[in-house]
């Protein structure tokens, strides 16, 4: 066995993959070449286990200018106004080193958006953690939130939302996803080097040994007891450098200096050099001696795969190099010519006047292995589906309500989002704490609504139905503020694809997303797959995070969740199925049960509800609107009350009132409106085939459910402290 062959396994390549490389090259690869293949053929970069499934997703639509495969999807939201929208994961780095892992996750997605020529204008961070009674989890939560806050705030991009969920399965494998919205600044860019003779300029931070093997070693393998030793594979972020990179890149584009553009993320220099030339059917001669470095004596392979942050690659005309360097100099950024575009079809890497790699771009970027991995429905699913739903009635209604409101799952996430600058850019019409964030695009009268959602428990019980519910809820969130659901980005977080049960979950989730997106008319514009989210053989719940983008007609007409005027009618839209408790928050929090089957989604009912919400907002019928989700009607009512600083009185009856209070039937929303327009709302709902009834009215300071009543302040205090109290304990202990 040759030296290189013995080494490929350490780099994360299988024996078969190594053989495929030899076959493709007609020889054994050099060490540098092997390192390049190891990152480009990693699960993280090549999507080798997911590609066949992802190909089934709907990706086209009238408003979709750029679909999957580029830095970010591009959606036209008004005449001449286009936005970039994309989600990524940084799960493994964030567990190993929470602060820097989360921070560099923000940096990575921001550069994806920037690579399209878009100014990043909003971030969302969907997070999944273990239960807060564990000290390491509290450390991870604190580090992740601080990392996002530190990085996002410094680069001056508002973090406007993103849900946070606490669940046992994420204790040793937290999820840190991050979505970014951008608006095309002067020109839409593509990562495609099409013209031989042009040159590639590497600019931004220097290259060091940080983050070597991030894609192959960290992101593409599961965890075990030794995982924390992988800390050196986590990159270290420099948000100030990123801020300069944003301004500098946008200035280069606006001056017309850039022909094509790509960021450096996973895979380091290997990635854009091979991808841009593969897409453009060209090649590149890369001179590694021109890479500015932060430490001496780096091996060529290290330079090629280092994931040092805050770097970009711009392809420019040779005559423009001096001006490009000058603009970078103004922003205190180093810029050097990395190489020249050739017609060879190869990425040729030269170090110290020696060729250390010479491989076809296509082999690296597009001809990686594609696996149709075995997928089999696990037997335990039938048992779980036949088990108890956890819908037993509570002993005491008032206490149960307070327990629900104070559970970290439902409690206010203020402790998290107050650490994020969510207001910069003067675009945040509706910020964190609502159904969807509403962002006014700079210099326009257009706004978009964005929301993320990913119900892991539902997907564990039934991945197909759970995925449809995820899409539906994300769309409902957006419709609740009055926006029309338009496009989806998704981040698919799963266990190891080498397990047949996980692959079955994955296939079912992708099928569910595809069906729901087709039916709702919301194409998938891209996203990310994160496999290997398991530790010691225990995978996480299948957790697809759906990032929905909707278009808002007029920003001033966006509807918030807070009750407004005392005396307003409170109306419930949509039908309730009183046994929808499988995977519900009530079952989990009150009865400590996750079992049965999730609620069933009726797409027609969902679409009808969206029409009522969107049209009602357009004509100004609603003083508030809030979708029903985790915790059902009771939690939704309370959230509207807290946001609006008003109480309510509703009539909840039946022999088992907990069912109406906490069941989680989808396709429902709560609206409040002046008594005078109740008939208009009823007519609108009737026309759309949506059930609607007045269930009560907005009052002063009681949460009155008929079967029990709780003072607003008592309920609010439980809700406000549910998350902050356990997290503040660590601070005092420290």
């Amino acid at each position: 066995m040759s030296t290189a062959e013995a080494v490929h396994r350490d780099l994360g390549l299988t024996d078969d993959e190594y053989q495929a490389i030899c076959d493709r090259l007609g020889r054994e690869p050099s060490y540098t070449e092997l390192a390049m293949f190891s990152v480009m053929w990693s699960e993280h970069c090549s999507y080798k286990s997911s590609r066949l499934h992802l190909a089934t997703l709907p990706t086209e639509g009238d408003r979709i200018l750029v679909g999957p495969g580029e830095g970010a999807g591009i959606i036209e939201v008004a005449d001449g106004v286009a936005v970039a929208w994309k989600i990524e994961s940084h799960n493994h780095p964030s567990f190993v080193e929470p602060f820097n892992g989360a921070a560099t996750g923000v940096g990575g997605i921001v550069r994806d958006i920037l690579s399209m020529g878009a100014r990043p204008i909003a971030l969302m961070d969907p997070l999944r953690f273990g239960p807060l009674d564990d000290a390491r989890t509290r450390y991870v939560v604190d580090g992740v939130v601080h990392g996002i806050s530190s990085y996002g705030n410094s680069i001056g991009v508002p973090t406007v939302g993103g849900e946070t969920v606490f669940e046992d399965c994420y204790a040793a494998n937290p999820l840190v996803n991050v979505a970014c919205l951008g608006v095309i600044d002067t020109k839409l860019m593509h990562g495609r080097a099409e013209k031989p003779g042009q040159v590639a300029v590497l600019f931004g931070s220097s290259t060091g040994r940080d983050g070597i093997g991030g894609a192959s070693v960290l992101a593409s393998a599961e965890f075990d007891e030794d995982s924390l030793d992988k800390r050196p594979s986590v990159q270290v972020g420099d948000p100030f450098g990123e801020k300069l990179l944003i301004e500098c890149s946008l200035e280069l584009i606006s001056r017309g200096l850039v022909a094509s553009f790509q960021d450096l993320g996973a895979g380091g220099i290997s990635c854009p050099t091979s991808e841009m030339t593969a897409k453009g059917k060209t090649g590149m001669r890369v001179d590694l001696d021109n890479v500015h470095r932060r430490e001496p004596h780096m091996e060529p392979f290290e330079v090629m795969i280092s994931e040092s942050q805050e770097r970009m690659l711009a392809v420019v005309e040779p005559d423009d190099v001096a001006e490009v360097v000058a603009v970078c100099g103004k922003w205190d950024l180093e810029a050097r010519v990395l190489g020249e575009i050739t017609s060879s079809g190869n990425v040729e890497v030269i170090s110290d006047q020696t060729t250390v790699a010479d491989v076809p771009s296509l082999a690296l970027a597009e001809e990686g292995p594609v696996y149709e991995r075995p997928a089999e429905r696990p037997r335990w699913i039938a048992e779980v589906n036949a088990s108890a739903f956890g819908d037993d009635a509570p002993e005491h209604y008032g206490d149960t309500f307070l327990r629900m409101m104070s559970s970290p799952q439902i409690a206010s996430k203020r402790w998290i989002w107050e650490q994020y600058d969510h207001m910069i850019f003067l675009g945040t019409v509706i910020g964190p704490g609502g159904d969807a964030a509403v962002i006014r695009l700079p210099g326009t009268s257009t706004a978009v609504a964005i929301s993320t959602d990913g119900p892991g428990r539902y997907c564990w019980l039934d991945p197909y139905e759970g995925a449809r519910l995820a899409v539906a809820e994300a769309a409902r969130n957006v419709a609740a503020v009055g926006a029309r659901p338009t496009a989806v980005t998704n981040c698919l977080n799963f266990g190891s694809p080498e397990r047949s049960d996980v692959m079955w979950q994955f296939a079912e989730v992708v099928r569910g997303i595809g069906d729901a997106c087709r039916e709702l008319g919301t194409p998938v514009t891209g996203g990310n797959v994160s496999f290997y989210n398991e530790t010691n053989g225990q995978p996480i719940y299948p957790t697809p995070i759906i990032g929905m983008l909707g278009v808002v007609g007029e920003p001033a007409k966006a509807v918030g969740i807070g009750f407004r005027d005392q005396g307003d009618a409170i109306m419930l839209l949509g039908a309730s199925e009183l046994d929808d408790f499988g995977g519900s928050d009530y079952a989990k929090i009150i009865n400590d049960t996750v079992g049965g089957t999730p609620p069933h989604l009726d797409i027609a009912a969902e679409q009808g509800l969206h029409e009522v919400l969107i049209r009602g907002a357009e004509v100004g019928l609603f003083n508030s609107a809030h979708d029903l989700s985790g915790g059902g009607l009771a939690v939704a009512l309370a959230e509207c009350a807290f946001a609006g600083d008003a109480g309510f009185s509703v009539q909840i009856g039946g022999t088992e009132p907990h069912r109406a209070l906490y069941c989680e039937s989808p396709s429902r929303a709560l609206v409040s409106c002046p008594q005078g327009v109740v008939d208009d709302v009823l007519a609108l709902a009737g026309g759309a085939g949506v059930a609607a009834e007045v269930i009560g009215a907005v009052t002063a300071d009681m949460c009155d459910f008929t079967v029990f009543a709780t003072p607003l302040e008592e309920a609010r205090s439980a809700w406000e402290n549910g998350l902050s109290a356990p997290l503040s304990t660590t601070m005092e202990a420290g």
Partner: protein, 228 residues
Amino acid sequence: MSARVGIVVFPGSNCELDCRQSFERLDAVTEFVWHDDDTLPDVDIVVLPGGFAHGDYLRTGALARFSPIMTAVNEHAEAGKLLIGICNGFQVLCEAQLLPGALRKNEGLKFLCKWSELRVDVKGTPFTERADEGQVLRVPINHFEGNWFADGPTLERMRANDQIALRYVDNPNGSLDDVAGITNERGNVLGLMPHPERACDSLLGSEDGALIFGSMLDHVAARTGARL
């Protein structure tokens, strides 16, 4: 004639666009001034906006005071013209000793982005003329280091001299004497942690910030009028 507002841009500033937008809503003419320049254009008002001037890996504002533009900013203030430092700009003004005291990490050791209420405790400054004495303004904060501190004699002198222009109604960060915004002795330099530029549009939740910017523009108009 519209007042001319120069907004100093350090490499890590990030509130400069917001300051421009909010001053322009009030019909001022704005211009960005790069920190590396050594002269100011002909402006009536200088703004040091929020952000992280040089990344602030060292103490906030510690490097910015050495930026070439700061000499001209100093001269602008010495000439009695209006200078406002918002958030990071306030930190820079303290480091540059254009304002007394220093800003420490928030008491809770957390970054805080939230709405705050400020009480106007000194009326008749060029920054508060449009407000009533005791009026409460709703303006957001957004900082990690907003916990202002000065020694006892300095605080006494500032109180006696009516330099504590704005106080928090509900102190969010441990700031001494609830200080949210202070002026220099002469009253032409204001540093404040809350962001008035984020409170100039009712769609975003408040227009109270426009009382501060508007007062500055009134002051400039009055001075210009007196000169004519």
